[in-house]
Every structure is written in C-alpha cells, then in structure tokens.
Amino acid sequence: MRTECIEALTEYARANPDVMLLTADLGYSVLEVFADNLPGQYANVGVCEQAMAGIAAGLALSGRRVVLYSIANFPTLRCLEQLRNDVCYHNLPVTVIAVGGGLAYGAQGYTHHGVEDLGIMAMLPNMAVTCPADPHEAISLLPQILERRQPAYLRLGRAGEPVLHAPDTAITLGEAIWLRRGADIALLATGPILGRALEAADALAEQGISTSVATFPTIRPLDVAAVREAGRSHRAVLTIEEHNTVGGFGSRVAETLLAEGLAPRFGKFGVTDALRGQIGNQSWMLDRLGEVKDHALALL
C-alpha cells in the first residue's frame, strides 16, 4: 500500500510543483522514487518529528502543500502539539502519512503499535482522517485530501495488503461503501482489517445470517448517512478497527447512532489494553482479539 501511495504522490507532485514531501529519516526503499525524481520538492529533515511538523507549517504558510511521512506514532503522537497548534489551528494544507498503522509492526513492540492515532487525529480541528483498506482506497483518497488544502491524516498499512475493490470502484472522501447487503447485522470496518470483516460475513452467511459489510475509508468526516442506514436496517451493528476501541472509529459510530436516535445492538471489535506488551506478526496479533464472527454472533 505504501509503495503504490508514494508512486501516486510522486505523479501528483510532478504535476503540482507546490507539493513537498518531508520525511523524518524514514521510508528507506520507499521514498526514493519521489526524492530522485523531484529533489526540489523533497527534504529529509532528520530524526526530528516535532521540527518536521513545524517546518511543514512554515512551508505551508509560504504557499506549499506539504506531505509528512513517517511510521506508526512518530508523525502523530510525537509531534501532536505541533500538529494541533502550528498545522490545525492555522488550517494549513499539511497531510500526515503514517505507514505501519495499527499492528503492522506488531513484532517490533508496543512503541511501534499505532493504535490511538485515529481517535487522536480526529479530535484536531480541521483535520480529515482517512484509513484506507487497500491500495485502491489509498490512491483514490490521496489526491482528494491534497485538493482539500486543509490538514489531513492518511493512515497506511505497510506492504502486501490485498486489493479488496474492483479497480473502477469510486472512492470518495467522506463516504462509506457497502460491499455486502444483508438484513441481520451490519459490519462496519475501517482499514485493512476490512478483509477480516468480509471473511466473517462469508462465515455468517453459511450459518444463515444475513450480513452487510461497509468500508469506511474516511473516519472524519464520518459518513453519517451510512451509519444511519446501518442502524435502521439491521438488528445489530458491529464496528471493526485495528485501533483502540476507546475513542476510535467504533466510538464515533456509537455516538452517531445515539445522536440519530437509533439503538441497534452494538459492539466494537478492536484493540484493547490487554494487547499491550504482546508482540507478534500482524495476523497473530489480530488473532488475539478473537474472531469477528464470534463478536457478531454474540450480538445476535
């Protein structure tokens, strides 16, 4: 996903010389395509995420659109106040790309588990928050968030995420997409964990449970109409995210359901504090959270 995204960014920046890419010395073997082709629009600022976010604000105040690149929590939590004050307060066209979101770096330890980023980024003023499920969602969203010319967060996986969409599927910032239609339960997923939601839908269908699945490539702004439809048309709603279940996508869906006056049976599948301290590859880590299917059945 990251490679496709940087290639798309390179092509976009080639046509838009106001776009600059900054990295805090991460992205080896990924960013060279941009750096080699557009050296005047690229800077490796060194290992200094706080300064990088401030430098981005300075560039943006001088007419540039800036993309920041780093991994996991470094371009979000490490420089949170710079993003809040320098970027978001000033409503500047700065896009933060974090690769290895969620548990992609699971074996690297808790420092590299990016599981609070979506909730925290979504609290910042003017920030659009995106969490694509596959390369198609990612490269579809990228130009849209750049054209928006406001703060944005793009959480990417790492590498090798399967393509879940047909190439002609239209992905629009702020809109969810229904991939399956059913009547009993709606599985609402964000990010590459969508694959597990689709697998769960197949397993539930074998048990005669009519299941809907929607992907939410954007968390903020949230597609309220899709959440409303999920709440109105199903007995139960289960959110699925590779993120802390407190304050993340599921929490946003829950508060939206309440605000809409809807009260389906509701559950959140995601990371809990019990995972802190455990390490393993992404798949093994996600297995620790249990089966999506079992969470769904518990709601019905």
Partner: protein, 276 residues
C-alpha cells in the same frame, strides 16, 4: 524599501512608544508578561523601524520579511509594534485581552501582520525554518526572523530546528534570543543554565552576534548584516534586562506576572517621558 514607514524612523522614540503601549495595555487588562515585553522593546523597534521589508497595506505581500515571535506571551508588544507600523489601529490596543477582542493574550495570527499564532514555547523556530526553506527553494530574497525567549530554549524542539537550519544552510534565517536571564520560577542560571549560549550556537555552525539588546546601533548592525557565516543561519544573542525602561520593574521576576496599578502606571510613564 518598498514599505511605508520603515525608513527614517527614530527607533529609540518608537521603542519608548512601544513600552508605553505595553504598560497601558497590561494595566488595563490586568495582564501579565509586562517584563517580557519591555525586554524586547528595542528589538521590536529596530526591526519594525529600520530593518524589516513590509507593506502595512498588504500584510500577505509575497516578498515581505517574516517575523515569528515564538515567545507568544509577549503579545502586547507584538500588537503595539503592528499598530505603530500601521497594520492595525492604535485605538484597537485598548481591546487587548478583552472579551471578543482579536488581540489575544498570546500572539494570534488573526491580527494583520502576525505570521504565526504562538503561545506554547518551542514552536516558532521550526516554523521559521520552514519559511526560510520555502524562500530558499523559491530563490526568493525575503528573510525570516524569529524572536525567542531564553527560557524557551529549554524546549528540545528549538534545538531540532537549530540543527536542521544549519544542515540546510538557511542563511536567510535570523534567530534573535531575548536573553533577559529570567524565566518563570527564577533566573535562567538557577532553573536551567544556558551559559555559554553563544558557544552553543557556534557549535551548531550558526553565525553568532552577541550584543547588548538595548543598543540600537548594535541591533541595527546585527540585523541588517549579511550572514556572518557564509551559507549558515544567524543568531543574535541579545543581552537584555527584563522590564527594561522602568526602573522598578527592571530585572525583577515579579513583573513576569504583575501588571502596574494606577500609581505604578503613572510613575512608569513619567519615567519614560510619556504623558498618561
């Protein structure tokens, strides 16, 4: 210069007016940080009176010099300098820190002439470095100035920017440290000693001017000069006195927090030779 009012101004008289504005503003608002404003009055006066390229009628003019005041708590003197330079009406200074005013207690970009909202320390220099990088990449000749307090140099983010700026050879960047030797809880020497400050910047490959920050000739020479170290950013370590210009406020921690009462205001203005 293509600006209204940057030439032929008596910068010492401007500094006196800035000090008087600050005393009145903080008195009226019962606001703190008067000492932090007074220590940088001469820096502001020389910048706005003699050094900066700006056009008060076009605050967003692409070729203007940029000033970021990273010590955002010194907001009163920032607004005073912008008012004296014609960006905002002098009368608006009366609204400082009031309900619904755009003159917030920390520097706010909504005010014409302000380049960056500040208030959390350690944010200004990285942003200034980003602006300098933008000018460098564009081949533009405008400069970026960043005024820092001494206490805020405790923040590590400044040193990230110091390192970055020298590596990228941002010789269009000028940092000015208002080195008044007093921070929130006491003297800088007591809290987190910066000595030897000039040598720290030397070691980071910056060009360093170390001057009396109340000497207008020295300020003008340092701020007008080309980079003294070719291809490197410049720092002006400006030795100043907190509360400078009002004898009973000078070098006193108390005036980081307190505002003048009626009698103190009258005494301070009299000392400056300004009628209240």
């Amino acid at each position: 210069m293509d600006s209204a009012g940057t030439n032929h101004i008596d910068t010492r008289d401007l500094a006196r007016r800035l000090r008087a504005h600050v005393l009145r503003m903080t008195h009226r608002a019962r606001a703190s940080h008067v000492g932090s404003c007074l220590s940088m009055a001469d820096i502001q006066a020389v910048l706005y009176g003699a050094v900066l390229r700006f056009d008060r009628t076009r605050p967003a003019w692409a070729d203007r010099d940029r000033v970021i005041v990273s010590k955002g708590h010194a907001a009163a003197i920032v607004y005073a300098a912008l008012a004296e330079s014609g960006f905002i009406p002098i009368e608006e200074l009366d609204t400082y820190s009031g309900n619904g005013s755009r003159l917030a207690g920390h520097v706010t970009k909504v005010v014409p002439g302000v380049e960056l909202s500040t208030g959390s320390l350690g944010h200004g220099l990285p942003v200034a470095a980003g602006m300098a990088l933008a000018a460098q990449r564009a081949g533009a000749d405008w400069r970026t100035f960043c005024i820092l307090s001494d206490g805020e140099l405790d923040e590590g983010s400044n040193w990230e920017a110091v390192q970055f700026a020298q590596h990228f050879r941002l010789d269009n960047l000028v940092a000015i440290v208002d080195y008044n030797k007093i921070q929130s809880f006491g003297t800088v020497a007591e809290i987190s000693d910066l000595h030897p400050l000039a040598e720290k910047f030397h070691a980071f490959n910056w060009g360093v001017h170390e001057i009396d920050g109340h000497d207008h000739d020295a300020l003008l020479a340092a701020l007008e000069a080309k980079p003294i170290r070719a291809g490197r950013p410049t720092v002006v370590v400006a030795h100043t006195v907190k509360g400078k210009g009002v004898s009973f406020m000078e070098d006193k921690l108390l005036w980081h927090y307190r505002s003048a009462d009626d009698a103190q205001l009258a005494a301070a203005l009299a000392e400056l030779g300004v009628t209240s």
